[in-house]
């Protein structure tokens, strides 16, 4: 296990705005998380804490467990060992805890996963109406505000398949935001997009970061990572190998595997 290397967190002022996170409480806390798929260990003793309003970008080669890790945070995958605590709520078998956590954690998928049988508007109003019991009109007003925010209010009455990939992903972000989450998880949100649409999605994510959202982002967009992240985290073979500021990562990565990965991707 790599407990030693994990300790080398660079607790220096973050690259983006000095110590804007100083004194913030930890909103996500994982401790020794393991995940097995049959005999295959996808996560190996992952310990990570994220402060409120922090932007963490997760890097790592394919199959290193990045998706598995963030999917454990809202229990789309159940972890086999270790603890996960989100905003003070323990993630375990208790269904009430799970419900409370899922209301606080929004997720955006690589494949968008919009509901194709519902209009754009209803994709967004579904959560607030069904989970938060918000009246229909309020939910629709909220949905329109969010569509405004992601820049596509004119698409409200269309169906997902009638939108471009970039527009779909922005709807997916609006859908997650409609639950007023404290934390947003992004699993390679731009990987399924054509290059000209990547920017429109990243712009929305930037705006979201500036608004103070706590974000965990799995991405290969190094420009975004360098510019927006407070902290970068590097996974390999299910282990959290190295973490630190963007500056640390891009200028003086310590681990060989990190160097190799960055040399391939940059």
């Amino acid at each position: 296990m790599t407990t030693e290397t994990e300790a080398t967190t660079a607790e220096q002022p973050s690259a983006n705005g000095a110590d804007r996170l100083a004194g913030q409480p930890d909103i996500i806390m994982t401790e020794g998380v393991d995940k097995w798929f049959g005999d295959f260990q996808a996560l190996d003793d992952v310990t990570l804490s994220v402060k409120e309003h922090e932007i963490v970008v997760i890097l790592g080669p394919s199959g290193s467990g990045k998706s598995t890790f963030i999917r454990c945070l809202n229990r789309l995958e159940e972890h086999d060992a270790g603890r996960i605590v989100i905003d003070g709520i323990e993630l375990n078998e208790d269904v009430r805890n799970l419900r409370a956590i899922r209301e606080e954690v929004g997720m955006v998928f690589q494949q968008f996963n919009l509901f194709p049988h519902l209009s754009v508007l209803n994709n967004i109003t579904l959560g607030p109406q069904k989970v938060r019991r918000m009246p229909k009109l309020d939910a629709e007003q909220l949905a329109m505000e969010l569509l405004e925010r992601v820049g596509i209010p004119e698409q409200a009455d269309k169906y997902p398949t009638q939108l471009s990939g970039g527009q779909q992903q922005r709807v997916a972000i609006a859908r997650a935001l409609a639950m007023r989450p404290k934390i947003m998880l992004f699993d390679e949100p731009t990987s399924a997009l054509d290059p000209e649409m990547i920017k429109e999605v990243l712009d929305v994510m930037r705006e979201l970061a500036e608004s103070g959202m706590t974000m965990l982002v799995v991405t290969h967009e190094m420009g975004f990572a360098r510019e927006v992240a407070d902290r970068l985290v590097f996974f390999d073979e299910g282990q959290l190998i190295e973490q630190g500021t963007p500056q640390h990562f891009f200028e003086s990565p310590r681990e060989e595997r990190t160097k190799l990965f960055l040399s391939q991707i940059l």
């Binding site: 809202n74 899922r102 929004g106 998928f109 919009l114 509901f115 194709p116 989970v131 997650a176």
Partner: protein, 421 residues
């Protein structure tokens, strides 16, 4: 103007241009020729392309001609249709009390506009459908209303047909593309269709109407099949979900149900309704038959729904959970609506199959549906030679309904996948 083309070089420098020829894409070009030429070409290419094909064409024409000639000869010169007109109450309504005839007609008048509406919503009445409806209408009208004591049957029937077209017209105003208005209209129609059956039963039975045991003839087929289909659908949803469940006990139970039911023919299960089920549920035979039909249909429909469930990407359920929906809510608003939509075409196929299978019932059970009462009709001394008339009549009635179902389902299938998965 800035966009003027450059001045052409002097004529001497370039050879004079030939007059420009408009080149149309092949299909446009063909469309420009007179229909007679096109018809000729079609005939040549599709019927007489080679000596062998020419031979086959003539052989088929001869065969079809013979059959049609034979049928026309039979219908107009040979057949004795009195067997139908005399027995029409028996064939249509069995033991239903004659005094309560208005209840039957009222049911027809309730259901026809809904069928018209379904046609309008999913299909459109082409020339072929109109021809079909005209023929079928004339056929039924002639054999039901003809020679009636008063005008009441004619009036009822004409009114029902008018309501059919009204329902059709109204639903033609619903926009074709998916959107909120269409969703709303489809839901309303589905609800009305679901309500139709109980409503018809109320009209038939409540307030001094008929007993269930008096139902018979074609009317009984028309009641049993929808009960089997609707009941089967309702049962099939939990079965399909159960089979896909991760709880072994549940998935094994559901799998066993499905495989056992599908392992024996309907006729076998009708035997069960007659002999075995009576010891379990003390209820009239007609109710036991309904149960068997629903249970039988459910096993097949469950498999189609399971196919629909499997066709959904895993991300759909995950996205539902991620926005905080419970397991049940995710099923209800995300997974099932999509899975059911995918499995509509095979379910309609199953419905058509069950519709035709209701003809089996009177072979096993002492329930007199259309085929059973056809046999009763030709058991009368006077009509013993008129077998063919009676069975041909029954076959046409079955075919009319099956044809309408398949038309609507074909169009529904084609309409799928526009803005939806």
């Amino acid at each position: 103007m800035a966009e003027q083309p450059p001045i052409p070089p002097p004529a001497a420098a370039a050879p004079p241009q030939p007059p420009r020829k408009v080149v149309l894409p092949p299909h446009r070009e063909r469309a420009h020729r007179p229909w007679r030429v096109r018809a000729e070409e079609w005939v040549r290419r599709n019927l007489f392309a080679s000596p062998g094909q020419t031979l086959l064409t003539f052989a088929s024409l001869a065969l079809v001609g013979l059959v049609i000639a034979g049928a026309v000869w039979f219908v107009f010169f040979q057949a004795n249709w009195r067997v139908i007109t005399v027995n029409r109450w028996l064939l249509f309504a069995g033991g239903f009390p004659l005094d309560e005839k208005w209840r039957l007609w009222l049911s027809v008048a309730l259901v026809f506009p809904l069928i018209g509406a379904a046609y309008g919503m999913w299909a459109s009445l082409g020339r072929r459908d109109l021809l079909f409806i005209a023929l079928a209408g004339a056929f039924v009208f002639f054999l039901t209303a003809h020679g009636d004591a008063g005008p009441s049957s004619s009036v009822w029937f004409a009114a029902s047909l008018a309501l059919f077209f009204l329902g059709y017209r109204v639903c033609r105003f619903v926009p074709r593309e998916t959107g909120r208005p269409r969703t709303l209209a489809v839901r309303t129609l589905a609800a009305l269709l679901a309500l139709a059956l109980p409503l018809v039963l109320i009209v038939l039975m409540v307030g001094g109407g008929a007993q269930a045991s008096q139902f018979g003839g074609f009317m009984l087929n028309l009641i049993l099949a929808p009960v089997g289909i609707v009941g089967g659908l309702l049962l099939a949803v939990p079965l399909a979900l159960g089979r896909a469940s991760s709880l072994r006990a549940i998935s094994w139970t559901c799998t066993a149900y499905i495989e056992v039911i599908r392992g024996a023919p309907l006729i076998g299960w009708l035997f069960v309704a007659l002999f075995i089920l009576e010891d379990v549920i003390s209820s009239p035979l007609i109710v036991r038959t309904m149960i068997v039909l629903a249970v039988f249909t459910a096993a097949y429909v469950a498999e189609y729904i399971r196919g629909g469930l499997q066709s959904l990407p895993r991300g759909q359920g995950e996205a539902g959970h991620a926005v905080g929906l419970s397991h049940l809510q995710t099923l209800q608003v995300i997974v099932l609506p999509q899975a059911l939509r995918v499995s509509i075409p095979p379910i309609v196929g199953q419905a058509i199959g069950l519709w035709k299978d209701t003809a089996l019932i009177s072979i096993i059970l002492p329930l007199r549906e259309l085929v059973g009462n056809s046999r009763a009709a030709i058991a009368q001394a006077e009509f013993i030679p008129d077998r063919i008339e009676v069975y041909a009549f029954a076959a046409v009635l079955f075919w009319i309904v099956a044809f309408m179902m398949s038309r609507i389902s074909q169009r529904m299938e084609r309409a799928q996948g526009v803005g939806e998965r």
